[in-house]
Point group: C2
Chain length 191, copies 2
DNA sequence: ATATTCTGAATGAATGTTCATTCCTAATAC
DNA sequence: GTATTAGGAATGAACATTCATTCAGAATAT
């Protein structure tokens, strides 16, 4: 088996287990078994458990940021840009529920404490598209005068919570509900 | 020392430790030391660790529900009732940050999985004030036609996230910002 | 072409640590 | 003197990590 393949197997196994059962339900021995490798093998690819967990997070984050910034309509009005990001978030996580669950596990754990929330939108070296949106909105007086943190919370918290409910099967977010949800978030901050 | 006092000491110690460090940073030995009792003593008051953790949750929940339903203006319009609950939430958790942190730890843990979110507003035997609010709002056509879950998320998720940021010192929620925040949540669901 | 040596990836039993829980002894109350 | 409560050392289970050993295949020699 090619080297890269084995690394992928380990990442996949760990991600699925952690997403499904949390960090506790995923001891190294179980990850190894699910990946079809020996426990020791994992340590040939990742220095230790923490490094493995953080690597998985980084991979997911990269995929998500790539998805959101692809075709980002930076020249369009603030409202259009916001809808692009917000709906992109819904689409991406609806299609990749394991990524969502892993993110959530990671975020609410000692690992996640270190990560600042707004950094998610900052792909390495790129300008932060979220802060750009916020500042442009303020300057053009299309959004309320709120601290950036609160603006972020009003626009994204309901989406994240609803995605969670969708993935847990408590509510079905189809296209029309997604539209309604994102519009409502916008309604909360628009002037 | 009176029996009840010792029980309180244990609960207080466990709550503070868990709120500050998470479930991991609070082994039974540490709880015992902080409470000023022997490890074995804890097991005279609580069957095991899980029972202790759930008992603390229940105590906090009772205090919160009591606070929110006290002076609840059930005869007033939906909007007024919503503001009462939402601002009560902000006030309570601003004044009791440890309760908030404990709630958060609990909610994002294997324990919390079992608890359904909307049950928070259901004090034993009482009608669920949240569902009552939602149904009245729908009937009177003052709120958008959304599933209850999404309505809940739009109105409370930004508040919870902002409380978190406030308690972590990332933003200062004073009275005027609280007013703005709660109003914005209402704006997202009102017709 | 075949045999021999070398390399380093893969493995999982063994180790050390961290805890929840138990249980025997000491202290205290009645 | 007996019963109840407190204490904390001892126990055992769960886990992350290590490391001596195996072994397939590459390199080299014959």
């Amino acid at each position: 088996m090619a080297k890269q393949v084995k690394r992928e197997d380990i990442i996949r196994a760990a991600m699925d287990l952690i997403a499904a059962q949390g960090f506790h339900g995923a001891p190294m021995s179980m990850i190894a078994e699910k990946a079809g490798v020996g426990v020791g093998t994992i340590y040939r690819y990742f220095e230790n458990r923490d490094v493995l967990i953080k690597s998985i997070y980084k991979e997911i984050e990269e995929r998500l940021v790539a998805y959101l910034t692809k075709k980002y309509p930076s020249e369009e009005p603030v409202r259009i840009c916001f809808f692009h990001i917000a709906k992109g978030l819904v689409t991406y996580f609806t299609q990749n529920p394991m990524d969502f669950k892993y993110f959530e596990q990671f975020h609410y754990s000692p690992f996640g404490e270190a990560h600042r929330r707004n950094r998610i939108f900052k792909s390495a070296g790129q300008p932060d598209i979220f802060m750009e949106l916020y500042e442009r909105g303020l300057a053009q007086q299309v959004i309320k005068n709120l601290p950036p943190t609160v603006f972020f919370n009003l626009t994204f918290a309901p989406i994240v919570w609803s995605l969670r409910d969708h993935i847990l099967g408590m509510v079905a977010i189809d296209d029309s509900l997604a539209e309604l949800l994102v519009t409502s978030c916008w309604d909360s901050v628009k002037i």
